[in-house]
């Protein structure tokens, strides 16, 4: 086959992918960017010409946008940390207790992965509602029995995002669990045996053997979870408060309720930009690691 034919075959092979990426990813992104500076008329109420008003307003500390961004980052970070601790902790527990996960247990752990976000959000709403199981537990045990506070805190529609965090952690810990469990299985057991022969205890083995060998898997799951929760909509929409709002809900409110499409598009672009930066940093760190290995 001539080089020209080979090149043609290659082009034909990748063409569907390029067309897909172009129309499904690039075009909407470009429209969002152009709309955020008033250069399209795809939605009613967008300005007639070029403007940076959306960006000026977004970064105006007097306006609520930065507060929404900060709340989103804070809640996402907290949820990611807790999901990671829970997922990783569970893997370590299973490993060191030598618990064989049967089909049922394995399915239970994976269940959140197969549950739609919206369904999960409503499920957690029912649990955290003052007359839900968790709501009753908090009231009866923590407040009335242990007297930890005078009044039970609001667990849903609350300004601290308690409901969002609880639901997000449940949704995302299986990702950490699955990634870390498979990585742990790949670690040569002779490392652990050697460490034990030298007198190391379990915490030391975790810290000095497993943790360094699985750190990049952990970083992957953290990044995956952070990005997934950062852009989540259903959970904060159902469980969130009137204020502060998650950025995704904030876009919805701006566009749908207020008809402020300029702010909706501006916030979307900033949202995408932040996600891209996080992905880029993660990819770069992985690439550097690969180069070192």
């Amino acid at each position: 086959m001539s080089a020209r034919r080979e090149r043609l075959a290659f082009v034909l092979l990748v063409l569907p992918l390029v067309v897909f990426l172009l129309f499904m990813v690039m075009v909407p992104f470009v429209i969002a960017v152009l709309s955020s500076v008033g250069l399209t008329q795809v939605a009613p109420g967008l300005p007639d010409g070029f403007t940076l008003r959306g960006y000026r307003d977004f970064f105006d500390p007097e306006k609520p946008n930065l507060q929404a961004l900060w709340f989103t980052i804070k809640i996402t970070f907290l949820s990611t940390v807790l999901a990671t601790v829970l997922g990783y902790g569970l893997v370590l527990f299973v490993k060191f207790r030598r618990i064989g996960l049967g089909q049922t247990l394995s399915l239970l752990v994976k269940l959140p992965l197969f549950t739609p976000y919206l369904v999960t959000a409503f499920m957690w709403w029912a649990l955290l509602f003052p007359r839900g199981y968790i709501g009753i537990f908090v009231q009866k045990v923590l407040i009335e029995y242990f007297r930890l506070a005078e009044e039970a805190p609001a667990l849903i529609s609350d300004p601290y995002g308690i409901g969002i965090v609880a639901c997000s952690v449940w949704m995302r810990f299986p990702v950490v669990f699955l990634i870390m469990q498979s990585l742990m299985e790949m670690v040569n057991p002779s490392y652990e045996e050697a460490a034990r022969n030298l007198g190391a205890r379990t915490p030391t083995i975790i810290r000095r053997v497993y943790f360094p060998l699985t750190i990049y898997g952990l970083l992957s799951s953290v990044t995956l979870n952070f990005l997934a929760l950062f852009i989540a909509f259903s959970i904060p929409f159902i469980l969130g408060a009137s204020w502060p709002q998650f950025l995704s809900v904030f876009i919805y409110v701006n566009a749908k309720d207020k008809g402020d499409w300029l702010m909706g598009y501006t916030t979307s672009v900033i949202y995408i930009a932040i996600s891209l930066v996080i992905s880029y940093v993660y990819t770069r760190s992985l690439a550097r690691r690969t180069a070192h290995v």
Binding site: Q67, P130, I156, S157, A241, V253, D257
Partner: protein, 440 residues
């Protein structure tokens, strides 16, 4: 009749019914093959100056085909696309109505239960794209999206309310949707269907009616005496919240007369500090201060679970709780405080590019029949827009605990019924987050 038939014949030959420039050139868009005549609209632009601007409450338009001809054309079209939104009971109602309409007329009513925003955006997008054949024939709307569609050229601006025989029974009262909806003039291009009533809801096992506030702004004093027992829903997430606050605006900032049927003026909102102060004071005494239930349903669930004893909600939402067995009817007390709480009448319009307009007219006429209007009360727990339908209800439905006024005829004749001002309400909703929710 002969003259009307002649007109219809002419229409069928190629003249027709036209509104606005784009419709005049729409060919077969209006009434299927019955379109369009180059007549100018009575309401070619949105006019919210209702008291001094020219109004034309027209009788059956002489230039319009006769009702018999419309029915024939509808049979010929054979189908109608209906889009609505709402709670599960609303979905049940519209599904049932569409099925019965299909069975009775042989015209297939295809029902889509969606969200008003998506439907509105779709039609506005089609206006922009000059798409003259859409797929929605009847769309259920509240005030703001109706205003958006009207202003955006998405409404078939024909006074079809004057055409529907059954619609003559809709009360001739400004607040009940015949002329305006949320104070947006409808020019007859809107058919009210359901009259929601926002009410004060209280636990009557715990409190007597005389313990509850008499006036709409009495909630603050009551909440101060009973901290943690009152709440209202986020006005951006549920209509019961923003409808009550709209009534508070009337009560606290200058009276109904200041706003009713007048154009929106931002200067009129300058004294709203009294409203924000009221709501921020109230916030301190509410259930779990700083939190607002995210919707009508959440409010009713808190009430039924005994978490709160006093709130604001729709009769329809409370009826869902009662009918689902989620709320003890013995605790449910409902009333309309003085001077009132607005009772909007949501309804249907026909998009400019509806492909089956004749069938849409016949469907809307069916929706306004006594039979369907009775179902509004029976299935959705709301008031029918046709008062006669209320008379035909069983005593059980009339005396249901979620109905605050049981003599609807008297209430509609003599009661204080207020309408919401869509634009002021929308302004309040956008301000509320900054002025109330964000305040520490």
């Amino acid at each position: 009749m002969a003259e009307k038939k002649g007109l219809l014949d002419r229409i069928m030959e190629g003249d027709g019914i036209g509104r606005r420039g784009f419709l005049a050139g729409a060919g077969a868009a209006a009434l299927g093959g019955l379109s369009p005549v180059a007549r100018e609209a009575h309401a070619a632009k949105l006019n919210d100056d209702l008291t001094t601007g020219p109004q034309s409450p027209a009788p059956y338009p002489s230039w319009f085909p006769s009702w018999e001809d419309i029915e024939k054309a509808a049979k010929k079209e054979g189908r109608v696309g209906v889009t609505a939104w709402g709670s599960p009971s609303a979905q049940t109602h519209f599904n049932r109505v569409c099925q019965e309409f299909t069975r009775k007329t042989g015209i297939t009513a295809q029902y889509t239960h969606g969200d008003w925003f998506a439907a509105q955006q779709k039609i506005l997008g089609e206006v922009k794209a000059k798409k003259m054949a859409g797929d929605i024939d009847c769309i259920f709307l509240w005030g703001q999206p109706f205003a958006n569609l009207l202003e955006g050229g998405g409404v078939w601006e024909v006074p079809f309310l004057d055409v529907l025989p059954n619609a003559r029974k809709i009360p001739y009262r400004a607040e009940l949707g015949r002329f305006v909806h949320d104070m947006v003039p409808t020019y007859g291009a809107y058919v009210p269907h359901v009259n929601w009533q926002d009410c004060f809801v209280y636990n009557k096992k715990k409190y007597k009616r005389s313990d509850m506030p008499e006036t709409v702004d009495g909630a603050l004093d009551w909440a101060k005496k009973h901290p943690g027992e009152f709440t209202y829903c986020d006005p951006n997430k549920g209509g019961s919240g923003h409808t009550w606050i709209m009534q508070l605006i009337y009560s606290l900032t200058g009276g109904y007369e200041k706003y009713a049927f007048k154009p929106f003026k931002i200067e009129e909102t300058k004294n709203w500090t009294v409203l924000w102060t009221y709501l921020n004071d109230l916030k301190k005494y509410m259930y779990k201060p700083g939190t607002f239930p995210q919707g009508n349903k959440q409010v009713s669930q808190l009430f039924c679970a005994g978490e709160i004893t006093f709130t604001v909600n729709w009769n329809s939402i409370m009826s869902e709780e009662i009918n689902a067995g989620a709320c003890d009817p013995a605790i449910l007390g409902m009333y309309v405080p003085k001077p009132s709480i607005c009772s909007p009448s949501d309804g249907f319009t026909i998009p400019f590019n509806a492909p089956y307009k004749a069938a849409a007219l016949v469907f809307l006429n069916y929706l306004t029949s006594i039979e369907v209007q009775k179902q509004v009360a029976e299935t959705m727990g709301s008031y029918p827009v046709v008062t006669e339908a209320w008379d035909a209800l069983s005593d059980k439905d009339k005396n249901a605990p979620y109905q605050p006024e049981r003599n609807l005829r008297q209430w509609r004749d003599l009661g204080t019924i207020y309408a919401r001002h869509g634009k002021y309400m929308f302004h309040m909703m956008t301000e509320w987050i900054d002025r109330v929710a964000r305040k520490a």
